[in-house]
Amino acid sequence: MSPAQLPVADLLLRLRRRQVAPSELLAACLARIEALDGTLRAFLYVHGEAARAEARRWDQAYARGEQVPPLAGIPVAVKDVIATRGVPTTCGSRILEGWRPPYEATVMTRLREAGAILLGKTNTDEFAMGSSTENSAFGPTRNPWDPERVPGGSSGGSAAAVAAGMAPCALGTDTGGSIRQPAGLCGIVGLKPTYGRVSRYGLVAYGSSLDQIGPLTRTVEDAALLLQVLAGHDPRDATSADVPVPDYGEALRAGIAGLRVGIAREGLDEGLQPGVRAAILQAVQALAELGAGLEEVTLPTIEYALPTYYLVATAEASSNLARYDGVRYGLRVEASEIVAMFSRTREAGFGPEVKRRIMLGTYALSAGFYEAFYLKAQRARTLVRRDFERAFERVDLVLLPTSPTVAFRLGERVADPLQMYLADIFTIPVNLAGLPGISVPCGFSEGLPVGLQLVGRPFDEPTVLRAAAAYQEATDWHLQRPPLAEAGAGGPAGGGRG
């Protein structure tokens, strides 16, 4: 097996034991990208040369037995909505094609200081608006489990990269499920931290009050390793929380016994694919056997979550995306006067889903509609949050499916936005409430992965990780590999030097 397919924790062990060198690990990743990404299109940009130079630096550090930072030599794929200094950051949009940020996101600084190596930038729905990665201006990413199907989205590139073993781990962003849903559909782990846990500085904003950066990994342990590096107060982000960062690795070892898990009744309603329901119920059974106390909880306002989200997120997006006007960076379509330049640039630079959401948001904020839409959505948001608060009076975690279906076929929902929006019905409420949520593989339906979602109290990532780790310890869903990844793995990666 290529080292690129191993979990981060294993790799760190092997790196320290000098069983593998950072350059070899990187070469293995690049070889798998070379072999598989023509089919999958998970990457928009591969950071080959600069990554190799960094890897050689860590080669020496490991060879000399130096004290190294926690992720030294680990390649990380980064969703292309996160600003990387000097490295193209397109947000999956023509309007930012060719833009190289003169600064880097706080998470990139943290990763760099932890020794991680930027492997490349991954495909995403344009400005993270979508649930299938089909809204990327640079073509869709495909699901490693079935290239005719979507990987989910919007962090579909990051999810596919990890699932196919092209990268050991990746960063995604989650505004309405964009980490958890593709993780679920690709059979890997995706963690959306509490709003404010990870700095948003350098995350190109979609819905500012909902956006959060988090890891996509093969194991819960890896998610904890990455979160440890990413989490913490950032003076550059006024919404980042000044809350102490616990030792997430420590939390993993506590086991699930004694934890109370609330099964959200609404999560098992009709509308769930039978195969998904079966996998979820089986997971519930497994949790019970592990010693978790199960209870039914109810989130009655969850039915308002979707419309609430599509008002709040689009309102914020309509303002956040106003800056793409051709004046300072990115695409400019010349015109004889400034207003025409603005509109021609935006007309040419944005795709249909982005335009749809800008229009929705603009409408929701317009004079005369503000109270009926934006303000009412804010009130509904409070109700959704209270639903969770009530549930957390009785339980430590709320369990929901990550997605009501397994990965759908490419093109299947493109013409029907509302159908597409339903893909996030169980993840969106968690963003509205600002809570931490994780998706872990919990089975298969029609040969495609199903994700189990566990949601915790604000800043209670330790409990979320602890329960997910215990579940993963007891199951082997996360060890399954997509057939395409196995087939494509052989030759080039085998030698370790690509």
């Binding site: 600064y103 904003a205 003076p235 303002s319 603005f342 503000y370």
Partner: protein, 486 residues
Amino acid sequence: MSPATAPEMVIGLEIHVQLQTASKMFCGCAVTFGAPPNTLICPVCLGLPGALPVPNCRALELGLRTAVALGCRIAPRSHFHRKNYYYPDLPKNYQISQYQYMDHPPLGVDGWLEFTVDGAQRAVRIRRVHLEEDTGKLIHVERDGVVTHTRVDYNRSGVPLMEIVTQPDLRSPAEAREFLVALRALLQYLEVSSGRMEEGTMRVDANVSLRAPDGSFGTRTEVKNMNSLRAVERALAFEAARQAEVLAGGGAVVQETRHWDERRQITFASRTKEEAEDYRYFPEPDLPPIVVDEAWVEAVRTTLPELPAQKRARYVHTLGLSSYDAELIVRQPRLAAFFEEALAAYPHAKTLANWLTGDVAGILNAEGKEIDEVALRPETLVAMLRLIDEGRISGRIAKELLPELVLTGGDPAALVAKRDLEQISDAADLQRLVDRVIADHPEPAEEFRRGKERALAFLVGQVMRETRGRANPELVNRLLRERLRG
């Protein structure tokens, strides 16, 4: 139109004040006037994708200080909002500001400011005080009088601004001017802003309408682009006259924005879109609410400097100045600072006030300068006044020396010596001169002897002339009287 039937002017002002902070409102870039274009910028104030604003605590503090000094109610919790509109000087195409609606109050509301017009006290109600960020600056490049392209300088983008909005309580251009003088003084005492309209650190927009004799409010216009106090006064007068003329001709005033043209001394309607702009305000999700607790407000209140009203009262009641002199000094904080520094070394408030509001002010006015823009130092003025008190120079000589002391500075005693202006107070020296003047002018001498008091003034004048003003006038007076009556 006779004054009796003239419609009353109704004026409300919106004042944007640039706060005296070292850095910008939401990033660490320096705030400096006149730096080369686009040298004071960063990802935040350029609105680069992914960059986030972080509030400048100092700006909050200055805003709060102003709101407290204006007697505003302070919102325990206020929000920043986004004001959405497209303009190339606005890098994010929204401005972070504070909008007032429902449960979202701005930093301060419902204050007031007292000021003096023609010796009478007036008060204007302050509607609100809020904070926001400034925009960049467009530089239009012309060739043969035609704009060929436009450049954008983002140095000003994100500079902290405070907006102060009055109720429509002002009734004449002169009132508007005096209110602005009082507000500027307050801002300077608070060390919140330099308040210089000419440099754009204080910018004033005015809403102007005419109230009909029956009391009904007229349609208002908004007047912009007034770059000095004088411009405000003239633009408002022009606009009132223009509206009156429109109404007198049976027309209707159009609600619109009008620009003051300094060169032509008129206001003109700027091209505007048909429909009113919808700014789509909503709470800024990148910034948490500003929370101001009672303790913070109290801390600000107790550390406020002496405010103009208190200062005026102290000058009148403790220092014994006339209310006219007190007002003249208090309305110019830098003059007041000069006055108080001088007073510390020379405890004769009235004398100091007389010189400062009289001869010194005259020289400053003639030069178009402020007290801190000339060479005169408080200790120089005090040294000069001491020379008078010691009888070494006369008041007349002092007035003669003053322009040089004000404009080029120096030591008054040295200047007196250099110009050989020391007063002659030696009785023996003067006696000889007095005798000669009496001998040369027997007729006036005779007149005085016969009781014509005014004749003495002539003789004194002759002695002064002989000494080029250096003779001690009181001594000359005494010596003449002794000689002529003796």
